[in-house]
Each structure stands twice: as C-alpha cells, then as structure tokens.
C-alpha cells in the first residue's frame, strides 16, 4: 500500500467512513462457473431508481471506491445508466465482468465514463480448460476479445486467475497472456463456500503440493524467502491489529439491498430498502460488533505464532461458526507457506495436513 493510500485508509478508519463498497448489481450470469458461490436466480433485484438513490446515499456517506460486480453486470439492461450515474457522483469505479457482452460500443462507453479498472477472470491460457470451468463454450474467445478491445482503448484491465484443481498449473500461461495484452495479472488460490453456506465447492481447491509450488514460485509471490519466512509470533502492537477492512472501511451490498461487512462475510447487517445506508453503516449492531474485534480478542489466534502474519479471513471464520475463531483454511495456508503448524491445527480444529479450502486474503498481485 502506498503512503498516500495508507494515509487515506487510516483517516477513513478514524472518521468511520466506508471508503470501499462492492455493490453487486445482479446475481444473474451468462456463465455457470463451477466454483461460483452465488445462486443465479433473481429474487428481486433493486430497481434503477433504488440503485441511483443508494449511490446518492453512498456518495454522501463518503464512499470513494465503488466496485460494481455480480453475477454479470452487463446482464442488467440499465447497467450503463447506473455506471454513468455513479461516475456523475464521482465515485472511483472498478468493474468486475466476464466481458462476454463487451463489444466495441461498450468498450468505448466504458472508456468515456472514466472507469478506473475492469477485472475479467481468465482461468487458463487453454480455451478448452477455461470453457470447461465457465461451462460456456466459446467464453474464452469472448472474454479475450473484450480484453483486447478494452486494452485498445487504453483501459486498465486486470486478469484474475482463480486457482483450482482443473487449472492448477495454468497460471503461468495466463500470466504470460496478461503480459502480452498489457494487462495486470492477479491470482487467487481461493475457492470460498457458497453464500448460503454450502461448502461442497471447496473440493475444487488445489492439493497442498500444488499450492506449495505456487507459494515457492518467485514469479508469482515475489520474494519467496520473505513470503515463506517463519512466523515470529504477535507482539503487543500486533495484538491490537484489526483483522481486515471489512466493516471498518469497507462493506458489501447485494442486488437485493442487503448489507454485509464483505462479500465473503455473509453476516446480515441491514437492508437499504428498509433503512438508510448511513444509518446501517453507523448503527448496525452487527457491524459494531465486527469493529470491536482485534487479534487480542481471538482466543486461539492471539496465541498462535502466525497471529501477526496470518491472512486470516474473518468472513471465513464466521462461516465456520465463530468470527473470533480461526479460519481453518487460513491455518492451512499459513502452514503450507511456512511449514509451521498453527495454534488452530495444534488444538485440533484444523488437524488435517491436507487442504480443505483457502481464504481469499492471499491474493497475489503482479
């Protein structure tokens, strides 16, 4: 994090400002990715007018970074109306899309509206592998065409590669594609449970050996020695650390107006159809509770040698039943990274040396 961005984040924390919001416009999608955590049926999405009103409220509350995601955002016919309004309210807008519906006109419009970045998932450099994951024949070509178009308009494109059993060794090929296209590459060794709590998709996570290989690949993680350094244990300062920005300077809003601390932290905290966004952000008992938690309050993690360096995701811990508890997925990741067992593992909560899942907090950006 650069100095200025860190300074802004600290100030947002001090003033209790929701600096970052991810707003999912729809859960509908034209792909059916095998690892997706969403139910794609429409259960009553917010209308255009409701979203415009929400954007007004979020701008007034101080939201600066607005990520529009889904589902597939371009499945909404009013997508560009929403985007144009968001830019009129001077949000820094980031888009997450599969790009399938982006043609020349859409790329031109995205450029004209001054979007900060467009993130598109590419699962493999091999079209067959990508299409088998998205379950949409031809999707690789469509997504790649969108990336080329966006890049030809000078738009910042981020290619996201989610690691799973089906594409475990393809990240190097995707990284090379990104370099060729002038796009940023990020890799996420993360399959998260479905938002309804169903954990069956976690069996798509790569095996321990494959993840160990990724964590020891300097092209992916940078300085391997530093990345895999043995943990030192939390000192007094580390015990006062906040777990992450979820609920502190960031939150998530679903297409139905439900507010959560994060897209990976499905703790219902209010609904913007019934309450003002600012009132939920300021007064929600759930968000207030999330804000009280420091490392010191976590019985197991505060005593863990990985406490200060673990990528523990409070949302995944919550989905395991205790937002103050360890996330077994992150325990296992810390173990694979360093070879040192975590307190959670030693206490028997996460005893398996085999990986069951990984959290999203190890996101490797290049």
């Amino acid at each position: 994090m650069s100095g200025l961005i860190a300074e802004i984040a600290a100030k947002a924390l001090q003033f209790n400002i929701p600096l970052n919001v991810q707003l999912d416009l729809t859960y509908r999608c034209n792909e059916r990715c095998i690892h997706c955590y969403l139910n794609h049926d429409d259960h009553g999405e917010m209308t255009t007018a409701e979203i415009r009103d929400l954007l007004d409220q979020m701008a007034d509350a101080g939201v600066f970074y607005l990520t529009l995601s889904g589902g597939e955002i371009l499945m909404r016919r009013d997508f560009f109306e929403i985007l144009e309004y968001a830019r009129k309210r001077t949000f820094c807008v980031k888009l997450k899309t599969n790009g399938i519906l982006i043609r020349k006109k859409e790329a031109e419009r995205i450029k004209a509206l001054g979007v900060e970045s467009v993130q598109i998932s590419i699962y493999s450099h091999a079209p067959k592998v990508h299409d088998a994951i998205s379950k949409l024949p031809g999707s690789f070509e469509h997504s790649m065409n969108a990336i080329r178009l966006l890049r030809s308009h000078g738009i910042h494109v981020i290619i996201a590669n989610v690691l799973m059993v089906q594409n475990a060794t393809d990240y190097a090929g995707v990284k090379a594609l990104a370099a060729e296209l002038g796009a940023q590459f990020i890799m996420d060794p993360t399959i998260t449970p479905m938002m309804n709590g169903d954990r069956s998709i976690l069996n798509l996570n790569v095996e321990e050996a494959a993840l160990r290989e990724v964590f020891r690949n300097g092209d992916v993680v940078g300085n391997v020695e530093e990345f895999c350094a043995p943990p030192q244990g939390p000192d007094a300062d580390a015990l006062e650390m906040l777990p992450c920005s979820a609920g502190h300077t960031a939150c998530y809003v679903s297409p139905y107006g439900d507010v959560y601390p994060c897209v990976q932290f499905p703790l219902p905290s209010g609904n913007v159809r019934r309450m003002k966004f600012a009132d939920i952000w300021r007064d929600s008992p759930q968000l207030k509770e999330v804000r009280t938690i420091t490392l010191r309050d976590m019985p197991s993690c505060s005593k863990c040698i990985h406490g200060a360096t673990c990528t523990r995701c409070p949302g995944l811990a919550y989905m395991e039943g205790n937002m103050r508890g360890p996330s077994s997925a992150d325990c296992e990741k810390s173990f694979v990274r360093t070879g040192v067992a975590t307190a959670g593992m030693l206490a028997g909560r996460a005893t398996s040396p085999h990986l069951r899942s990984h959290s999203a907090l190890v996101q490797i950006q290049l």
């Binding site: 802004i8 003033f15 600096l19 101080g62 109306e81 309004y85 001077t90 006109k105 859409e106 900060e116």
Partner: protein, 106 residues
C-alpha cells in the same frame, strides 16, 4: 494576470471529501491526490462560470488571513498544477459544464 481565468473540474476524475480534505483521482492515470483545506475550498468553488479572481475574493480572502494578491497568485499556481494533471480545465472564457443524461442509448 491580465485576463480573467475560468476553471472547471474535469469529468475524468473521481473525488470525495475525507474529513476536511478532498481526495481526487485522475481517471486517466489512476493517480491519487489529496487537497488541503484551502485547495479544497477552491476545488469546490470552481464551476466554469465564476472567474478565479472572484472565487479567491469571495471564498479565500474573507476566510483566511491573506492579501488578495498573494491568494490569487497561490490559487493560480494551484489550478495550473492541477490542470497539468488533467484534474481541472482552464480557459479565458466561461466553460460549459457537461451534463449527464439520465438514459444512455447504446
């Protein structure tokens, strides 16, 4: 300055108040800036229609202990610098503010 200077915010920016400072990001370069309190007053006042001299007189001189000459000199340097980064537009005549249509036809 020999002629009036009109200043308008670029549409290719993202901006938000954070405490008493303004965060501004250039949409073309993703470069992030923060403006201090005085610069924020000027940022919020520029509308393309009010000359910079008038903004300085009305919004700065009455509020801060500074002479109009110094305030205008500083404001002029600020808007030139922000214009170089593409955050502001400068002109010697009023600048029409772009409107944002409610419906986009593709």
């Amino acid at each position: 300055m020999s002629c009036k200077r009109y200043v308008s915010r670029s549409t290719a920016i993202a901006a938000r108040m954070l405490g008493d400072e303004m965060m501004v990001m250039s949409a073309t370069s993703s470069t992030l800036f923060t403006l201090n309190e005085v610069a924020t007053v000027i940022w919020e006042a520029v509308d393309g229609a009010t000359p910079l001299e008038e903004i300085v007189t009305q919004k700065i001189c009455g509020r801060y202990d500074v002479t109009p000459e110094v305030a205008l000199q500083d404001a002029d340097a600020l808007v030139k610098q922000l214009a170089e980064y593409g955050l502001l537009l400068l002109s010697d005549r009023p600048i029409e503010q772009p409107t944002c249509s409610r419906k986009v036809n593709l």
